[in-house]
Every structure is written in structure tokens, then in C-alpha cells.
């Protein structure tokens, strides 16, 4: 706080009000961003974080309040206004042209010109690549400006996005869940770049994330939103992680992880010697009924590939799969579902739900055999079950006919869960079950997993969140390079133990 007291704010939002039909999304919110600080915006899903950012970016027009950028009052009538004032927005999804190289992407629309007449001209290629290299070097991003963006890793693409934001005199960057797609080590690279930019270039950052530990390390100040109201702005160094989370949810942290019931004796899933190319090198494991087997490891260790192979999404070269002791062959997901294996993808938006379709129809999709008789749909039953599951899982939506794309992330995940609960599978494979979901939503996802256990379902949980693996598994398998490195029992390992095995320390 002392550090920023003598500086003029980059962005000041006063008394921002935004109403939607039937809801007040923002009710007089104040927010100030100083140069050279990382200001974390914290709140549960639906607290108003995204709405506030969208008001600032010009995606929404606000219904009240004043916005000042670098001391000057502005009316944000279109997305162009904040851009011209030096604000840049980086969203969760990568927003680059994959077929162009780094330099081209960085200077897209603002290319240095050789000759110019009106809006036409010739791109000065030497200056383009020269300046791109210069900027990359200045921000300590070690990448070749000629590299094609589509061939970069997600972390590197994120860096390019940041570099692009900064080539055009940006004074403030808004990062919305920037690390959700990144793995641990890459996050540190990103944080280093952010740290340098704020110290050496006095860039201000607005940072939104559900990774509380991470924002606690990275942030300077935090503004907490609760139900569309400002619940206070604090220096992060003055708060412990627990205090910060308590303030956000407005009370004591309820116990996030439920107690797991003891598994049954009978096995739900057994796979033997599963192989696929060089991504899966002979994996064998067993999941009992009512048991969660956590599978963790670094990105690229083979977690997702394992899940996809078992469920029949990808073909396996060799290996055997048994469901409840019966040998099954799943060459397609359709066969997987028929044999009682559900696979919940990590990417809800593109692989989990048909966003243009209603909750009801998404719900019915994997259970359509059960919900039809002789090829004829049983509409009444579909309606009834969809309603039932919406109530059971507390999906917040006006009706079962609401489109899946209009729901928040947490509610979308609940619809995905409802959909697969309805399919009544005996094995459920969760791939990153709580990615991008806030605390309250997580607790609900875990509660539902517990219900599945009580019904005798075997759960294979693929996760890169070690805490989740420790708290929500009966046993934990650590993968490395497509093979099982070690299996732990519940309560045995610490996060460090898992990490050590995952990165292959001591090999």
C-alpha cells in the first residue's frame, strides 16, 4: 500500500452499477488499479468479477458509475475506447492466429509500414521481426519471433499474448484466469514475466483466478467482490490465505472435502497392460466399487490419454478392460457407454456440452437408449428426469430449456455431471473434475462424487491438482511418461512426495 500511495491510479472505477433483467450484477462497486501492482479480483462464480471486467472492456455498458483512466474520465461506449487508453485484456482462451508466426501475431493490425497511403501499405518485414525480437528480449521471453504460434506450448502462447499486449504502449493488463490451462512450472515462468513487468515497466495488472494460493503469492492487493458488492480491498501481505478465502465466501470455510466412505470389496474396473503408441506404456490398475482412484502426474504424463483409451475415445494398441469383472471391448465411446464407462472430459465447453442446446437435451444425450422405447423418445420421462437432476444437483437456471451455453462454469459442470449420473454407468472417469470452478462449486462436485461412491460406482479421477488427489482419493497413482511410477494409499504421501515422483526426482 505504501508503495502505491504516492502514485496516480491507472484505472479508477467508482460506484459501478450494472443491472440485468431481474438481477443487479454490480451494485456500486469501486475498484482502483495503480501502476506497478498486481491487483487481484476475487469472488465466487457470479459475484460480479467478469461483469466488472466486461464493463471496463466495453463489452457491457454500465448503468451507473464513473470510470477514470489515468486520471481522465472516460465513457466506455465501445471496446475501442479502453484499448486506445492503453488497457489490454487477456482472456482464458488463447486469442492468437495459430498459422502466423510470433512477430506477425504481436504486431497484428499495427505492423510497421514501409510505405503507407491511407489504410494501405507494405509491411516492413525487417522492422517487424527486429522489433518483435527486441520486445521479446526486453520482457525476457526466450522465443524466436519466426516461430509459428500454433506450434508453441500453451504457456508460450500466453507469453506471446502478453508481449502482444505490451508492444502497443499498454499501461494496464487484465488477466482473466490466465493460468488455468498451464501446469505448475510454466506458471512460475509466467509469474516471473509479470513480476518483471510490474517492477521494471510499472505495468498494472488486474488478475482474476480461482487458484487462491497462487494469487496470494503473486498479488499485491486484493479486491473482494461478494454478490455484486465490494466486500473490501486489502493489502495481500496483511492477510493469510485462509483469511482471504473467508472474506471471499463471507464466513468460515466450510469443510470442502467430504469424508469418503469405505470402498466395497468387488471391483468396478480393472485394466491390464494398456498400451498406446509411446504415450501409454503398459498400465494396469484396479478400481473397486465405491472407490476413488486418483491418477496424477505432470502434463503429458498420460492421464488424459489413459482415460480416453479406457473409455474407447481413443484406440488402444493392446490391453484389456474389465467392468465389474466382465471383459469388455470399447472401440468407440458408444461401446464404452454401453458397457457402463462414462468419461467426463476436462474441456466442458467443447467436449462436454452442446452449448446451443438446452439443459434437457444435453442431459438426455448419453441416456437416450434408456430414455426411448423402440426408437421413440419418451419426452415426458426426459422432462421429468431433467427436472429431477436439476433440483438434485442444484443447477441454477430458469428452466430445463435454458441453453447450456448461457450457464456459468460451475453450473455447466453440474449439467455435465447430471448427464452422466443419468447414464447410470458403473465406472466414471473424471478428467480434471474441478478445473475453473470456484470453492462452493467444488464442494458440490465432491459431494456428488461421494453420492456416486455410495451407489457403488468406481471413480477414476484424473487430476493435476495434488491437493485434490490427496483429499479425494482412496489410493493415488502417479504417472510419469505413460507408466505408473508409484501407488500411494490414502494419507500416506504429502504433496511433495507426489511431486517428487511426478517429476522423476532421483532418477
Amino acid at each position: 500500500m505504501e508503495l502505491t500511495a504516492d502514485k496516480k491510479p491507472l484505472v479508477e472505477m467508482r460506484g459501478i452499477v450494472k443491472r440485468f433483467p431481474g438481477v443487479v450484477a454490480l451494485d456500486g462497486v469501486d475498484f482502483t488499479l495503480f501502476p506497478g501492482e498486481v491487483h487481484v479480483l476475487l469472488g465466487e462464480n457470479g459475484a460480479g468479477k467478469s461483469t466488472l471486467i466486461k464493463v471496463l472492456s466495453g463489452a457491457y455498458a454500465c448503468d451507473g458509475g464513473d470510470i477514470f483512466i489515468r486520471g481522465e474520465q472516460v465513457r466506455i461506449t465501445s471496446p475501442q475506447v479502453p484499448l486506445q487508453k492503453g488497457l489490454r485484456f487477456i482472456y482464458q482462451e488463447i486469442c492468437l492466429v495459430p498459422d502466423l508466426d510470433i512477430a506477425r501475431n504481436m504486431f497484428l493490425g499495427v505492423e510497421p509500414m514501409l510505405v503507407q497511403a491511407g489504410g494501405w501499405g507494405l509491411v516492413d518485414k525487417r522492422a517487424l521481426y527486429g522489433r518483435a525480437a527486441e520486445y521479446l528480449k526486453r520482457f525476457h521471453i526466450e522465443l524466436d519471433p519466426h516461430a509459428v504460434v500454433g506450434e508453441l506450448s500453451v504457456t508460450q502462447q500466453k507469453m506471446v499474448e502478453i508481449a502482444r499486449a505490451l508492444v502497443t504502449d499498454a499501461c494496464a493488463l487484465v488477466l482473466d484466469e490466465p493460468t488455468d490451462v498451464l501446469e505448475d512450472r510454466s506458471r512460475h515462468d509466467l509469474f516471473e514475466v509479470i513480476g518483471r513487468l510490474k517492477r521494471e515497466h510499472q505495468v498494472g495488472f488486474v488478475y482474476i483466478s480461482h487458484r487462491y494460493r497462487e494469487v496470494h503469492e503473486l498479488g499485491d492487493r486484493v479486491t473482494i467482490l461478494r454478490d455484486g458488492r465490494n466486500a473490501g480491498t486489502y493489502a495481500i501481505s496483511a492477510l493469510t490465505l485462509e483469511e482471504m478465502i473467508e472474506k471471499m465466501i463471507g464466513g468460515q470455510i466450510k469443510k470442502q472435502y467430504p469424508d469418503l466412505p469405505a470402498p466395497r470389496e468387488a471391483e468396478a474396473l480393472r485394466v491390464e497392460d494398456v498400451r498406446r503408441g509411446n504415450v501409454l506404456n503398459g498400465i494396469s490398475l484396479t478400481v473397486r466399487q465405491g472407490e476413488i482412484l486418483g491418477v496424477t502426474g505432470l502434463m503429458g504424463a498420460g492421464k488424459t490419454e489413459l482415460g480416453r483409451a479406457i473409455a474407447g475415445v481413443d484406440r488402444m494398441d493392446s490391453g484389456e478392460v474389465f467392468v465389474r469383472g466382465r471383459k469388455v471391448r470399447c472401440a468407440t465411446p458408444a461401446e464404452g457407454v454401453r458397457h457402463g464407462i462414462a468419461y467426463l472430459t476436462e474441456d466442458r465447453k467443447t467436449e462436454g456440452l452442446i452449448l446451443d442446446h438446452s439443459i434437457r437435451n444435453n442431459y438426455a444425450l448419453p441416456s437416450i437408449d434408456r430414455l426411448s422405447a423402440g426408437g421413440i423418445l419418451r419426452h415426458g420421462r426426459i422432462d421429468r428426469e431433467a427436472d429431477e437432476y436439476m433440483t438434485k444437483l442444484q443447477v441454477k437456471a430458469p428452466s430445463r430449456d435454458t441453453l447450456a451455453g448461457q450457464l456459468s462454469g460451475g453450473n455447466q459442470q453440474k449439467v455435465v455431471l447430471a448427464k452422466w449420473l443419468g447414464a447410470q454407468c458403473s465406472v466414471v472417469i473424471f478428467d480434471e473434475p474441478t478445473r475453473g470452478i470456484d470453492i462452493k462449486g467444488r464442494a458440490e462436485v465432491y459431494r456428488i462424487m461421494k453420492q456416486l461412491l455410495e451407489q457403488g460406482v468406481g471413480i477414476l479421477m484424473l487430476t493435476s491438482d495434488y491437493t485434490e488427489a490427496l483429499e479425494m482419493s482412496h489410493r493415488i497413482v502417479v504417472l510419469r511418461r505413460g507408466g505408473i511410477k508409484q501407488t500411494f494409499n490414502r494419507g500416506e504421501p504429502t504433496e511433495e512426495d507426489i511431486l517428487r515422483v511426478a517429476i522423476g526426482a532421483g532418477e
Partner: protein, 312 residues
Amino acid sequence: MSEPGSVLKHFKKGIEAVLGLLLITVVFLILTPSYRQVSNFTQIFAQSAVLAIMATGTTIVLISGGLDLSVGSILALCACVTGRMLAAHDPLWLAVACGAGMGLAVGFVNGTTVVATRVPPFIVTLGMMMIARGAAEMIGKGRDMSMFAPGFSVLGKGWLVPSLIALGVILVSIFLMSMTKLGFNAYAIGGNAEVARLSGVPVNRCRIIYYSIGGLLAGLAGVVETARLDYVEPNFGLGWELQSIAAAVIGGTSLFGGMGGVGRTIIGVLVIRSLYAGLIQCGVDSYWQQVAIGLVIIVAVWIDTVQRRRRT
């Protein structure tokens, strides 16, 4: 933005197209005396019927996220098959079955090729459009195929019989799309094929079926057209694939799949046919007719796009 659901919903969503159709009808009723005659409307129905049969198939393929450019040529091919068999005095039922069956077979080949080769449906069916047209000419070239047995001509008699056949096709298709698993899967596959696949929908098998239905209905349209005109030429159905797509789109079916409805395509067909009939009777020359239809298609989709944007 309809999906399988109650039939009522289908009608409510197609309201803009219905209003457009009424508007066109009223305008021409005022402008041209000849439009007011009963024979004008029976003419429109007769011409709409054949297109409606074909466009129904096109709509199903579009909803499932596919595209079929070959239906116009399939119509011609099937018409030629039927025509030659009739000219050779084969049994009527066999000629009809072979005509429709040929459509089914070509549609099956379309679907199988799309699924097996993963070549975009635009290209596969563009190729098939040429292949089927060539085949139609080989079968029909230089042969006299006209004046068929009266038993056959019944299928195309007046406006009533073709209209009833079209009505039957449409009702069955509405049932298929809104009440059956196969229809439900079409919307799902068109909405997001990967989500559908991961949810256990046999995507490939379904796709082949939708293309087969598209081919079958094009074949049936060919048979009815043959009966209606009482002669066959290999240039039947030229450009009809685009009229079918236009009808579906005017009715509110998405070119990107996942949304739309078979029942509404009939409105699109009537819009196109009423417009042609009216413009002809106003004495507008055929070049300007094309221009007018083109504009209507663009405006229809534009209205739809605007409304869709407002809803989300």
C-alpha cells in the same frame, strides 16, 4: 432455435417465415388479378410438392451438420431410371421402387464416403452431383421416355396427389425428427459432433442414415416429378439442390447444423414457389426472378441472424 421437443414449439419458432409467406401472398393478390384464381394456388402446390419432398431430406442432412449438393442430380438419375423401366414396360411398382431405391443407394454412398474418407461433405456431394448427372444422361440420352401408363401417372395427378405425398413425407419426417432417437441424434451431431460421440452416439452410423434419407427423398421426388410431367429428361432438377437448401434456410434451419426443423422447410418451399409464380404473373422476366429470389434468401437469413443474436 428449435430442437426436438413439442411439436407446438416448432410452429411457434417458424412464425417469421409464415408472416413472410403471408406478406408475399397478399402483395401478389393485390398486384395481379390472375394470382387470385384457384388454379394459381393449385399450380403453386403442385410445383411445391416435389421440391418439398426433396427439401425435407436436405433439411435433415443440414440439421445433422451435413450438406448434400447432389440431390438435384439424384432426382434426375432416379427419374431416368424410372422412366426407362416404364418405357420398357416393367411393372409399375418395380419402376417406382427402383427409382426411389436408386436414390437411397446414392445417398448411402454419399454418407459412407463422407464418413470413411473424411473429405468435407461439400466436396463429396459436389462430386456426386456431377457423377449422378452424368449417369442420368447416360441412361436417358436420346431415348423417348414419355406417355407412361395411366396407372403410374396417378402419382403425379393434378395438385392433390403430389401434395398428399409431400404431406405424408413431411409428417413422417417431423415425427422422425422430434419423436425418435434417430432425430434426437441428428440434432446432437449437428450441434457438436464430438460431444455427441463422447456421449455414446454412434455418429458415423447415424450420418450414413441421414444422407441415405436425403437420397431416398430425392429419388422419391424424381419419381413424382416423372409422374407429374409424364416425361423424363436428364436435365430434371437442375439447381434444385440450392433451392432445397434455400428453402430449409428460409425456414430457419442452420447451415451449421444442430438447429432447425423439417416442418418449417415447407414454408420456405412455399415462399420460393409463390415468389416465382407471382413474379411470372407480374410479367417480370426470368433474370429478375432469380435476382428477387436471391435477395429473399439473404434477407431471410439476415432476419434470422439478427433475432438469434438478440436472444443470446
